[in-house]
């Protein structure tokens, strides 16, 4: 057995499950899908997703991708809504400490593999890191065209007019593009891709990112990828350029600006405070002496 696993000592002897739960045949199948996904950035590779011991919708796609890439020397971080301590992030982290015995961390910079739901960490990612997204609906055209047979043809023909029409109808109706999360992107000038339900605030982080980004959709049985240093462009119009949300106040705890904030309801009299959604970013800043007004 690998010495590092023994040091961690958390692989329960006799559980009967393989390292990182999946059998080697399943891992190979997922690994082959990942390699093709990397070679064809933004294209959704069908894969034979397995039934995992957690429900569809809880991140089975991300968990399968993580399980397929994870090695004994990896350091895993799991976040949900940007936070390491949300219950499902805790649950997935425990799944991997129990089945793979690997080291885990909450520090973005220390992680080699980061599994995420709904956020991209605020701290810039580095070469050598892999960001694994949990994806509910991988098909960016799904809400415009429910049929897989149709959307597959649209991707084959690079026919994305439907998406532009939808975004433009928003502008005509609301004066704005009304998509605030899962905002579609074009990858490397070819495929239009769903970034998973991250707020559009995070879209610019996907562009020219030094880390490898992998996307796993278990229920829909798709894997896709953005290699490092790849052009990722949020769809927009010349007269309505893509814009991200920004908040008119800093984080109440660490004073960070230009980060995504959670709105916390304090009372039933309209009391609100805004704090970093990325808990590690917030804690790191506070450890470095940054303070917000409520700290």
């Amino acid at each position: 057995m690998n010495p590092q696993v023994q040091i961690q000592g958390t692989v329960p002897a006799g559980t009967g499950y393989n390292f990182a739960y999946l059998d080697e045949g399943t891992k190979r199948m997922i690994r082959r899908a990942i390699l093709k996904a990397i070679a064809i950035p933004g294209y959704q590779v069908p894969f034979a997703a397995r039934e995992m011991p957690m429900p569809y919708g809880w991140g089975t796609g991300g968990v399968q991708v993580t399980a397929a890439i994870l090695g004994a020397s990896d350091v895993l971080k799991v976040i949900d809504q940007g936070a390491d301590d949300t219950t499902n992030a805790v649950s997935i982290r425990r799944f991997f400490t129990a089945t793979a015995g690997i080291a885990t961390t909450t520090r973005t910079a220390e992680a080699t593999v980061i599994q995420t739901r709904h956020r991209i960490p605020e701290a810039p990612l580095a070469e050598g890191q892999v960001l694994v997204y949990q994806v509910p609906i991988p098909e960016p055209l799904r809400f415009l065209e429910p049929r897989e047979t149709e959307t597959r043809q649209l991707h084959a023909l690079a026919e994305y007019g439907l998406m532009h029409v939808k975004l433009y109808e928003d502008i005509a109706r609301h004066g704005h593009i009304a998509t605030t999360y899962a905002y579609p992107v074009e990858v490397a000038g070819r495929y239009v891709m769903d970034p998973s339900p991250t707020p559009k605030f995070d879209n610019p982080k996907m562009d020219d990112c030094p880390a490898l980004q992998l996307f796993g959709a278990g229920r829909e049985k798709r894997i896709y990828a953005i290699p490092p240093y790849t052009r990722v462009r949020s769809l927009d119009f010349e007269d309505h350029p893509f814009r991200v949300q920004s908040f008119d106040r800093p984080c109440a705890l660490c004073g960070a600006e230009d980060v995504y904030l959670d709105e916390v309801v304090l009372d039933d009299a309209g009391g609100r405070m805004f704090v970093c959604s990325d808990t590690d970013h917030c804690e790191s800043r506070r450890a470095d002496g940054h303070m917000g007004e409520a700290a």
Binding site: P46, F47, A48, A49, E51, M52, P55, Y56, G57, W58, D80, Q81, G82, A83, D85, T86, T87, N88, A89, V90, S91, R94, R117, H118, P136, R147, E148, T149, H174, G175, H176, T180, Y181, P197, P199, P204, R219, K221, P241, F242, R243, V244, Q245, S246, F247, D248, A252, L253, Y260, L261, D262, E263, V264, L266, M273, V275, S277, T279, A294, A295
Partner: protein, 371 residues
């Protein structure tokens, strides 16, 4: 001062302990045994095996116990266990014609070779709550029939009709490998074998409602129950190293063959067509609904227009699996506050703009900055 919610690990541990406690219920009441569930909740066990795609009555019974009787949760446990099992290969095709029957009925003929066998059925019970059961009443023993010595004495109704050319023949075995939707993602259009797998694993309630919809005009196929047979079938497997089939034992199955009207087209003379349902154990409702939906999904193959949900294989196959459906519906209870915040910002901004247009100030909004 505001402190972010912590302690997810402790909360999860405590929730799991509480779950175990409420699962057990009042400790003064004797613990339910797996054998009791297997023997006395047999139809539930059968359904869990069918939708769980695994024939193991003890495991299904245990899953039901662990799941506090929640069928979908029990199916989930069985499926997740099934995924970890090694595969040895595929058995020979079941010969349901050679089934040892406990029940066999046909709605298309008054009598037929082998006769109608009513067997254990709720069909003609009066649904009066039997309060004697609450006191542990022991049932009278049923009369016993001589087991049918020769399976050929009970041919399938569809075989009888097929001989006269009135019913379309079963497609011949072309030797092509049969797809497996547990090992390959479904590629549309899916062939009939894959569709039947999906329907067999599909949620009974969903398949039932779809089958019902075909009877009410959403894709009428004029169905008749050619035959329902319930019984045990021998399972044969040919190991690579032996090269001849060996029996692995028997499985209890319910098979339903629906006979549907069809007017023929082109070179095909008018004849009846088939809809097929097959489930583990005794599951007549599911097998019948499955047969209705199977026939309905053959619309394109038979040159019928695809107009209604039960004819649309993407609609049916993508939504019939209870685990996929419950997962995606129930995942909405996971935190979504990051996305909600994004929507909140947008709605506040739109409201502010609306208010400005109508010259009534609204609450301040977040500005949107250029990237």
């Amino acid at each position: 001062m505001y402190v972010a919610v912590k302690g997810g690990e402790a909360a999860i541990d405590n929730a799991h302990r509480l779950l175990a406690e409420v699962r057990r219920g009042d400790p003064a009441v004797p613990d339910l045994t797996v054998a009791q569930i297997r023997e006395q909740m047999r139809l539930l066990v059968d359904r869990v095996m069918t939708e769980g795609s695994l024939y193991d009555p003890d495991l299904a019974a245990l899953a039901l116990k662990q799941a506090r009787g929640d069928v979908v949760e029990a199916v989930f446990l069985v499926r997740a266990y099934r995924t970890t099992l090694p595969r040895f290969g595929a058995t020979e095709a079941l010969d349901t014609g050679a089934m040892t029957l406990s029940r066999r009925i046909s709605a298309t003929f008054k009598d037929l070779p082998g006769g109608q066998v009513l067997g254990p059925t709720f069909d003609y019970t009066h649904r009066l709550v039997d309060f004697a059961l609450a006191d542990g009443a022991v049932p009278e023993p049923a009369a016993e029939a001589e087991p049918e010595a020769d399976a050929a004495a009970c041919p399938r109704v569809t075989d009888l009709l097929g001989q006269a050319g009135l019913l379309e023949p079963s497609p011949p075995d072309d030797g092509a490998p049969v797809g497996d939707l547990t090992r390959e993602p479904v590629d549309y259009p899916a062939d009939r074998a894959v569709r039947l797998q999906g329907l067999a694993r599909g949620d009974e309630g969903f398949i039932l409602a779809l089958g019902y919809s075909t009877q009410r005009g959403y894709g009428r196929t004029h169905p008749f129950v050619g035959e329902i047979r319930v019984g045990s079938v021998q399972l044969d497997f040919t190991p690579e190293e032996l090269g001849f089939p060996v029996s692995l034992g028997t499985v209890d199955m319910t098979e339903c063959q629906m006979i549907n009207q069809f007017h023929g087209h082109g070179a095909v003379p008018p004849q009846f067509t088939r809809g097929y349902g097959l489930v583990f154990g005794q599951g007549e409702r599911k097998a019948m609904a499955m047969a209705l939906v199977d026939r309905s999904l053959r619309a394109a193959e038979l040159g019928e227009a695809v107009l209604v949900p039960a004819q649309d294989q993407e609609f049916v196959l993508a939504h019939c699996d209870s685990l996929q459906a419950t997962g995606f519906v129930e995942h909405m209870k996971l935190p979504h506050y990051v996305d909600f915040q994004a929507e909140l910002d947008l709605v506040r901004r739109l409201r502010a703009e609306h208010a400005a247009r109508t010259a009534e100030p609204d609450e301040p909004t977040l500005r949107e900055a250029a990237e």
